[in-house]
């Protein structure tokens, strides 16, 4: 049991000490990956733990991001006010979407979550609530006492700290009774109902919590980029985060983080002209073929690959 803690703890320590050795550009890359790792972790709770495949998770990321900008206005504001607002807004939409979409199952559920994300996309893209297709700028980043998120170092520690806290919180959740119930629902919902569990309630709770975490990632994303645009809520974004999960391996928190790293690196890689020449500008095609190969050959993701190699060594 103690062994499963070693890798994450070491990784956390390494991350905390990185700024001492890494260039600012690389630090920024780490921050970007970390924000997406939080986003991926939030979806892991839904897909990996509870077994609910949502194709509309980007909506909560985007709502968190937009509310951050809208709540900051021209003068900025305290983190203590803006971050909770972003998270609550995302959670509220998750409550609406979850309550309705959980009335369906399987393929219907996938389609409905996608549709509701598209609805949110249209609100931000078409209406005057928020700058339309150009998006909005964050003029003043939130602060909390001495913590000023405009400062790259402060932002680094804030994001890494949030990632560590999210990981720890989800690990705690997974080993709790609530987490075990979610796992049971994933494996056999009928049996859980026969055992007296109100499965709709559990699933809805997971959905809302998941959305709230995604909203938190959205807050960090808005602060990091200093701007938001409607494409944050697009289904490409929702597809990307699902990809991260399958790249890393569904069913573990580590998989979500590894997947976020792998996806970001692959995306950078495929756009390198030095590597792929003329194909670099059509990197989505390379990504597409990679995904197909991946799902066909490595359905358990990179984590599954490691297990397979370990098996080969012993076998």
């Amino acid at each position: 049991m103690a062994r499963t803690w070693i890798v994450p703890v070491v990784a956390a320590l390494v991350l905390l000490m990185l700024p001492l050795g890494l260039s600012p550009y690389l630090q920024e890359t780490v921050v970007k990956i970390a924000v997406y790792a939080i986003f991926a972790l939030s979806l892991e709770l839904l897909v990996g733990v509870t077994g609910l495949v949502s194709l509309g998770h980007a909506a909560f990321l985007g709502i968190g991001a937009y509310v951050t900008v809208l709540a900051s206005g021209d003068a900025g504001g305290p983190i203590a006010k803006i971050a909770p607002l972003a998270v609550l807004a995302a959670a509220a939409y998750a409550l609406f979407v979850g309550a309705l979409s959980l009335r369906t199952k399987g393929v219907y559920f996938i389609m409905v979550t996608l549709a509701f994300a598209q609805m949110a996309y249209f609100v931000f893209h078409d209406t005057r609530i928020a700058g339309g297709s150009d998006g909005l700028f964050l003029y003043a980043k939130p602060t909390l006492g001495a913590l000023n998120l405009d400062d790259k170092q402060h932002l680094y520690y804030a994001v890494i700290g949030t990632l560590i806290a999210t990981y720890a919180l989800l690990a705690l959740l997974m080993r709790s009774r609530f987490g075990h119930a979610l796992a049971g629902i994933r494996v056999n919902e009928q049996r859980m109902r026969a055992a007296g569990f109100n499965t709709y309630g559990y699933k809805l709770a997971a959905f809302v919590f998941s959305g709230a975490l995604a909203g938190l990632a959205g807050f960090l994303l808005a602060v990091k980029d200093g701007a938001v645009n409607p494409e944050l809520l697009s289904w490409h974004e929702s597809g990307a985060v699902l990809l991260m999960l399958i790249l890393g391996g569904i069913g573990s928190l580590r998989g979500a983080v590894i997947g976020a790293i792998a996806f970001t690196l692959l995306k950078e890689l495929f756009q390198l002209e030095s590597l792929l020449g003329p194909l670099a500008s059509h990197w989505q095609m390379t990504l597409g073929f990679t995904i197909i190969a991946f799902v066909a050959l490595l359905p358990k993701g990179l984590i599954g690959l490691r297990a397979r190699l370990a098996g080969v060594k012993h076998g």
């Binding site: 897909v47 495949v53 194709l55 309705l100 979409s101 009335r103 369906t104 399987g106 393929v107 219907y108 996938i110 389609m111 409905v112 996608l114 549709a115 509701f116 598209q118 609805m119 249209f122 609100v123 893209h125 078409d126 209406t127 005057r128 289904w235 597809g239 699902l242 990809l243 399958i246 569904i250 059509h282 989505q284 095609m285 990504l287 597409g288 073929f289 990679t290 995904i291 197909i292 799902v295 066909a296 359905p299």
Partner: protein
């Protein structure tokens, strides 16, 4: 709103709904019979539209011929695609199907970008379908839109006829309700699936070809139609062609009149409609027709 405007909007709603029906019926057939959720279905619509653009110079005024050739090409494409790609997806879990077909969208979009570029293109309706007829003093309704609606109705009737009155349709319905038994009865399930898939692709591509002069041809068109189709299928019930028809028309009306009355908020209208259906009848308006 005066009567001619109201009539025009109704006609627009019906025409939009019918085009949606063509795409959605393909989607719901493929899911209902093969159990595959196909995110790339919207891409077939886009491919159809771009085909209309690409084939136009070769066919001049022979519009209907162009349509027929396009449909046949699309069906052939679908046949091959099922053979080399989709047939491997049937046994996989939904998440994998979602990701594989999402990857396919990426491939199709980039392929289109490589072959035809990313520009927006217009496609002209044939000369014999330009202009319109008068409705009241100020309004005229384009003949091409009438053609579009009529073409869709013809296809819908043909679809109804094939599914309900032919041997092929019987095989489709048998394959849908009980695969193993149908196989036991000697149906070549693999070939059947391939034909159904090709049909679904052809339907979507035909819709794209017909829509090209109306909505122009642009890169994101596959994505937007796909999501609306999902809404149609959720409202109408998976596997039900009748449900898809009713839902498509409903969506057509909500969207068209939404644009008239609610302007910038119109985009969310169809999703609110879906939300209402989910509260009232989560399994869709019609359960499976077979």
């Amino acid at each position: 709103m005066d009567l001619p405007t109201f009539l025009v909007q109704c006609l627009n709603a019906v025409q939009y709904g019918l085009l949606l029906f063509l795409v959605a019926s393909g989607l719901t057939l493929i899911f209902g019979i093969m159990g595959v959720i196909n995110l790339a279905h919207g891409s077939f619509y886009m491919i159809g539209a771009y085909m209309a653009f690409v084939l136009a110079p070769y066919f001049g005024d022979w519009f209907v011929t162009r349509l027929i050739v396009g449909v046949l090409l699309a069906a052939l494409f679908g046949f091959v695609l099922e053979w080399v790609f989709f047939s491997f997806l049937y046994q996989r879990e939904h998440l994998q199907q979602v990701l594989m077909t999402y990857a396919l969208i990426l491939v199709f979009e980039e392929a289109r970008s490589l072959l035809v570029g990313n520009d927006v293109h217009g496609v002209q309706p044939p000369p014999w379908l330009t202009g319109g007829f008068q409705l009241g003093e100020l309004m005229s309704y384009p003949w091409y839109r009438v053609f579009a609606s009529v073409a869709c109705i013809v296809v819908a009737l043909a679809l109804y006829f094939v599914v309900n009155r032919t041997r092929l349709g019987m095989m489709i319905r048998a394959g849908a309700s009980n695969r193993d038994m149908a196989r036991g009865l000697g149906l070549d399930i693999k070939l059947l699936y391939r034909v159904v898939f090709a049909g679904g692709v052809a339907l979507a591509a035909l819709a794209g070809m017909i829509a090209a002069p109306l909505s122009s041809v642009y890169p994101g068109m596959g994505g937007s139609v796909l999501i609306i189709c999902f809404v149609v299928v959720v409202i109408g019930g998976i596997g039900s062609i009748t449900g898809a028809l009713i839902a498509s028309l409903l969506v057509g009306f909500v969207d068209t009149f939404g644009k008239v009355f609610f302007a910038e908020y119109s985009g969310i209208g169809v999703y609110l409609l879906m939300a209402i259906i989910l509260v009232w009848r989560p399994e869709g308006l019609m359960k499976r027709a077979y």
